[in-house]
Structure formats: C-alpha cells, structure tokens
Amino acid sequence: MIYAIEQVLNGVQFGVMLFLMAAGLTLIFGIMNLINLAHGSLYMIGAYVAAGVFSATGSFFLGLAAALTAAVLVGIAIEIIVFRTLYERDHLDQVLATFGLILFFNEMVRILWGSTALYMPVPSFLSGRVELLPGIPYPAYRVAIIAVGLAIALLLYLVIARTRIGMLIRAGASNRVMLGALGTNVTLLYTLVFALGSALAALAGVMAGPIFTVESGMGESVLILAFVVIVIGGIGSIRGAFIAALLVGVVDATGRAFLRPFLTIFMGGSAAAKFGPALASMLIYILMAAVLFVRPQGLFPPRGL
C-alpha cells in the first residue's frame, strides 16, 4: 500500500516536470505557431550547466541560477538567429530546422563535457525524507519538485489569466496580426515568451539532474513525452497541459510499477517478465491514442489559453 502511494507520488513528481516542459511548448506553439523540436535541448542545457556548476562550486543554487541564465541566453539567441525566419514557414521547415538544432546541441554538449554522463547529486539540504502522510516517508527532493512545480503552475495561471502581460499573450494566441496593428511590440513579446519557455525547460532539466542521467540526447525522450502531454491536453492550453501532464506522469509511474505483477496473475511469471516492460512503455501512447480517438483536438481544445 505504501509502495502504491509512493508510485503515485513519483508519478505526480514526473508529471510536474513534464508540465514545465509542456507549458513552454504549448505557449510557444499556441502563440507563435512554431513547432520546436529543440525544446528538449534547452532542458538538456539546463541539466548540464547545473551539474557542471554544482560540481565546480558545490552550490546547488549557483548551479540553478547558471542553468536558468544559460538556457534563457541560448533560447534568445536561437530565437533571434533561427526562429524569426521560421515563424512564417511551413511546419515541415520548422521541424527540419529544429532537428538540425538538436543534432548541433547534442554534439556540443559532447564536445564541452565529454561523452560520459555527468553526475549530479541531490543537494544536501534536500537529501532527507519527509513524512507526507503518517507512516509514509518520501524523499524530500521529490517533494520539493512537486511543490515547486505546483507553485509555478499556479503562478503561470495567475499571470496569464490576471495580468496585462497575460492578456497580451492570450490576445497574441488568437490574433497576432491584430495585436501588431494595435501597437504592441509583437517581436519583443515573442522573444519574451520564448525566454519564458526556455527557463521552464531548463528548470525541469535542473530538477531532473539528480534523478535521471545527465547525458547527450536526454532532452528528446522528455520532449516526446511533452508532445504526448500537449496532444492529450490540447495544443495551446496551459490548463490542458497541467491535467494531461499529471495524468501521463501517474499512468507511466504506476504502469511501470504494477503492470508486470498485474500481468503475472493472468500470464504467469515468465511471460509477464518478457512482455511486461514493453507493454508498460506503451501505456502512455495507448492513452494518447484513446484520447485522440474520442477527441482529436485533445481534452481542452485551444480557445485561447
């Protein structure tokens, strides 16, 4: 029972990280109509810089700050150099160009930090366990991730729904030409949104450092899951991304933990061992397929954010 609750919490934690990735992606797509495969690279850059600075200075917060700064700078750089031309283009061109970016960044981290994975320890002030519910100790680090993620979700919601900047973002999502005609500096707005998305991705990367391996290409598996999340949630919807991210996270974690034992009941141990893991990895995609079957536009289809 405790194990089950732990798995669900792991799922929530993973979901919250997916949300950070998905929120950036969905904002960028919803407002700039840009499909950005290199979003995962920003996640990777966040992880690498944090790991590198942390091991050099021993300070987690320095690592965090450096990671966010680096990602925002890189994000703004590629927005100006590459994306400004891509906004007008075909989605195929965007996919190909950002694919090129991925190849470049994956190789760059190998050049800068070598091919072996980097190690990033859990920061010492978060290395204990916390009793969330009586009798259920859970790693403090993971609790922190969940807390930060929920806080950011709330913050995003407040900014977008309640502030003037948020209003501009929502307006940009529905009609960018009009927004420009009204005098808003659309170029600046786009760059800001992109910077925000990059920061969110990097934050997810920093959080992931101690839990997942920091290696070249780490961004892509998360990226694809983020795609699954926003497809399920509805492209352009932050609320959809949040709900879908938690759903995907929990389904994935509980699936991996419980599918094999579950199958053993029906199939016997060895068959379950052979096919369980493979089936578990398919669960999320089956979920996506099921959602799409019923609602091809996702759970919360775009109508602003």
Partner: protein
C-alpha cells in the same frame, strides 16, 4: 523531361555496375556501401509517397523500418530462415503497424499529426528496448541470411546486392505508376488543398490511410533488406533520429520527385561518411548545415528541392 529520364538512366546503370567496378578495383567495401544506399533509397521512396506527394509529415517512419528488420531477426531467432517467410512477415507486420498507427494519427492533421507520429515512432522504439528476449537494448544477432534456395544465395554479397537492386527497381516502377494513377492524383490533391478535396466529395481519410499503410509496408521491406545486409538488428534503427534522417534523404533528393529518394539517400550517406572521417563531431556540422539550407532558400527546402510534378501525364 528527356533530361530527367537521362539522369535516372545513368544512375540506375551506374548502380548496376558497382559490383563489377568494386571487384576489379579490389574494394568490396563499396558493394556494401551502395547496397546500404539502395536500402535507404527504398525507405526514402516509401516516405516520399506520403510526404512528397501526400503532404503527410510522418516523423515516425523508422518504426516500420525497424519492424521489418526485427521480423527477420525474430524469425531467425526461432530458427525460421525461409526468405519468403521473412519478407512476407516484414511486409505484413509493418503494414499492420502502419494501419493501427495511421488509423489514430490520421484523425489529426498539421502539427498534431507530426507530434503523434513522432510519439508512436518512439513507442515502437521503446517496445524494442523492452523486449529483453530479443536482445533489448543490446540488439540481436542474425545467424543466417534469408534463405531463398540455391538459386538466390544471399550469403554472397554480390547476389544480395542485385537482389536489393531488383527490389529498388520494382518499387521505382510501382511508384511511378502509382503517382500518375487516380490514386496518386488524389493524394497530390490532398496535399494541394485538402479542404477542396473534401468539398468535391472525396472521403480523404481512407485514401490517406491506404497510402500510409503502403508506405509502411514498403519501408518494412527495406528493413528486412537491412537485416540481411548487417546480420544485426537493434532498437537504435528505430530511434526517432533515424526517422529524421530518412526525412532528410527525401528532402535532399527532392520532395515529390520519383527518383529523388535515390539521390537523397546517396547524398546523405556519402555526406555522413565523408564528414565522419573529417571529424568525430560531424553532427555539429551537419546540424547547422541543415538549418542554413532551410533558412536561406527563399521558399524553404520545400521550394528549393521540390520538383513540381503536378501534371498527370
């Protein structure tokens, strides 16, 4: 048009002569290289049908390649070496996968479609990794080539080369007929203006699905050939970056051109081969190169390389 056919003829003739030239020059390595180029040309050709002609940006095409290769691998693992069994299984397994994936994905379009095909492609990759029985992450060795009897001994590199060549010719010919047929016109119409096609009364979904399945099945054959070429399969051939590579080959050769995929596969593999000899970090060069080409051609790669072949005749 005459010039075009001339180029096609030269390329096909050149490919036919490679084994002879390589043997005389005592450089059998080239037989393997060009066989590999032809295998990927078939894969690229299959993607060109739905991407170049149908406008469907499917980013998970490597999955079918992998399924075809694993069909050969898994059957061999269980001691089944019959060539027809191998290739038929590769064909139908890939077709069925494409049927399921296409059925769900084609309900969407645009960016959703790209993301979903990417996701499903990755799903197949993870399934491959999860199948510990068949090597999982480490891959699976294949003991013997597909057995087509004494007449067609694929153990001999030159025979395998011409077998691949024959299949390439077959698919080029079939492709040529298909794109000029009513089915082909319909597909191109969907790419040009799907809304109009629907308004005209075409139930476009079933045709897109048919094309998607055909493309997957042919890519499965390419995978089966690949398994024979390397006698080894691993999930890495299904990784999403492989889908990107196949797409690049289609683009380099020219979207919606019938022989383009052959040029594209050759260009990509040769470029990769040359670059990787210059530096181990060749991807850091290839990436920006690709970006530059996309950014600086006025109409994008689409316009730069796409050969306008909208005439039905």
């Amino acid at each position: 048009m005459g010039g075009r056919y001339g180029a096609i003829f030269i390329v096909l003739a050149a490919l036919a002569l490679v084994p002879a030239v390589a043997t005389v020059a005592e450089a059998p390595f080239y037989i393997g290289l060009f066989a590999r180029i032809m295998v990927f040309a078939i894969a690229a050709l299959s993607l060109d049908l739905i991407l170049g002609y149908g406008g469907l940006v499917s980013f998970g095409h490597a999955a079918y390649f992998g399924i075809g290769a694993y069909a050969v691998g898994i059957l061999s693992y269980y001691g089944v070496t019959d060539g027809i069994a191998h290739f038929a299984t590769a064909f139908f397994a890939a077709a069925i996968a494409a049927l399921f994936i296409g059925f769900v994905s084609l309900r969407t379009s645009g960016v959703y479609f790209i993301m979903i095909t990417l996701a499903f492609g990755q799903m197949v990759y993870f399934v491959g990794i999860g199948l510990n029985e068949y090597g999982g992450d480490d891959g699976l060795n294949i003991a013997r080539h597909s057995n087509f009897g004494a007449a067609l001994d694929l153990d001999r590199p030159i025979v395998l080369y011409y077998f691949t060549y024959a299949l390439l010719l077959l698919f080029l010919l079939l492709g040529n007929r298909i794109v000029r047929s009513r089915f082909g016109m319909l597909l191109q119409g969907v790419k040009s203006n799907e809304r109009r096609m629907i308004a005209l009364g075409f139930p476009t979904f079933r045709y897109k699905l048919a094309a998607f399945v055909m493309a997957g099945a042919v890519c499965g054959i390419a995978g089966a050939l690949f398994a024979n070429l390397t006698l080894f399969v691993s999930p890495s051939i299904m990784h999403w970056t492989r889908s990107g590579e196949i797409m690049m080959m289609v683009i380099l050769g020219g979207l919606g051109s019938q022989v383009g995929p052959v040029f594209g596969a050759a260009a990509y593999l040769i470029l990769e081969s040359v670059l990787s000899r210059l530096t181990e970090h060749w991807q850091a060069v290839l990436g920006p190169l690709l970006i530059l080409v996309v950014l600086f051609s006025k109409t994008g790669l689409y316009g730069l390389f796409a050969v306008s072949r909208r005439r039905s005749g």
